[in-house]
């Protein structure tokens, strides 16, 4: 999830774009579900790995859709992403990162 968000910097990611990217990458599809996705984002935001900001209401209104909450990876999140393989190595993780 952090990887996807880093890949979408600096504009950031929002719920549905993140779900789409995760689905395209394959892997654990549970994260694509509404509840799992927003619970994970909430936890990462509270852990300081992501920052969240509601987009400008006018932008959303101009496009005729509800406002999106945009997530961006923080410095702490980037650090955690670099350290993650050493902390919790997982099968297939290296392939996914390549």
């Amino acid at each position: 999830m952090l990887e996807v968000a880093v890949g979408r910097a600096p504009e950031g990611v929002y719920g549905f774009s993140l779900a789409q990217d995760l689905a395209e990458r394959g892997g654990d599809t549970r994260l694509v579900a509404h509840g799992t996705l927003y619970k994970a984002l909430d936890r990462m935001r509270k852990a300081g790995l992501l920052s969240a900001e509601w987009e400008d209401a006018e932008v959303a209104a101009d496009e005729g859709r509800p406002r999106r909450r945009v997530y961006r990876v923080t410095a702490e999140g980037r650090r955690a992403l670099v350290e993650a393989p050493q902390v919790a190595p997982r099968a297939g993780w290296g392939e996914a990162r390549a």
């Binding site: 719920g15 549905f16 509840g35 799992t36 996705l37 927003y38 859709r65 509800p66 999106r68």
Partner: protein, 228 residues
């Protein structure tokens, strides 16, 4: 705009309203808005060419697979300091949830003790114990809330309409009487008659609650129609 949404999108938004109901305002509004944006984006991404049933199925699938995480998220919010006191002051969520949980338990208990099931011994005892505990919890919360209301008056209640207040009272009655009927459901002798009386009163309260809910919805719809 709502009328144009596929049924899967409406269902996902309804579920978001259900599990965020009575959660702290900021958490609830953020989650509802995020789900609304997500569902809206998914409908738009599917485009005009995609059959609505397919789009609905995709949204429904994402919603259903996330239900356990939604429930866990809500439970994590309820662990925050002050939430227990809040729920005692506003017991509708606790009582409603426990009543909904009690319904399948009672049904399972009834099935297990039917003669065709033979000897369901231990399982029936376990289900019975769960029913007694949950019913007693509902009655205890109701009693605490009623006593608290006597001691601490709530100022915000006066501006509610009479219909809305009557509906809340009927809802309170539904939960308490269902719990009372369930508590004495398996008891012998005079308790059994008490359970039957509670059951009859529950049915009356349920009918009243349903009728009042329709009236409240119609009134709200009319009011919104006038201000539109």
């Amino acid at each position: 705009m709502t009328a144009g949404r596929p049924w899967g999108a409406r269902l996902a938004l309804w579920w978001a309203r259900v599990y965020t109901a009575t959660a702290p305002r900021a958490d609830a509004s953020d989650r509802r808005a995020e789900v609304a944006a997500d569902v809206g984006d998914e409908v738009r991404a599917a485009g005009e060419g995609s059959p609505r049933a397919v789009v609905s199925g995709q949204i429904l699938s994402r919603m259903l697979r996330g239900v356990p995480a939604d429930v866990l998220w809500r439970l994590s919010i309820e662990r925050a300091p002050g939430r227990a006191a809040w729920h005692l002051a506003h017991p509708a969520t606790l009582m409603g949830t426990a009543t909904v949980l009690l319904v399948p338990l009672v049904l399972v208990g009834d099935v297990l003790r039917s003669p065709s099931r033979g000897n369901a011994g231990r399982l029936l005892d376990l289900v019975h114990a769960c029913i007694v505990l949950l019913s007693a919890a509902i009655l205890a919360v109701a009693l605490t809330a009623a006593l608290r209301r006597l001691v601490v008056p709530s100022p915000g209640r006066r501006d509610r309409g009479a219909l809305s207040l009557a509906r809340r009272a009927a809802g309170f009655g539904v939960c308490v009487l269902w719990a009372a009927a369930a508590l004495w459901r398996f008891a012998p002798g005079p308790w059994e008659r008490l359970a039957a009386a509670a059951w009859a009163a529950f049915a009356a309260c349920l009918l009243a609650w349903l009728g009042l809910s329709v009236l409240v919805s119609a009134t709200t719809w009319k009011r919104h129609g006038r201000t539109r």
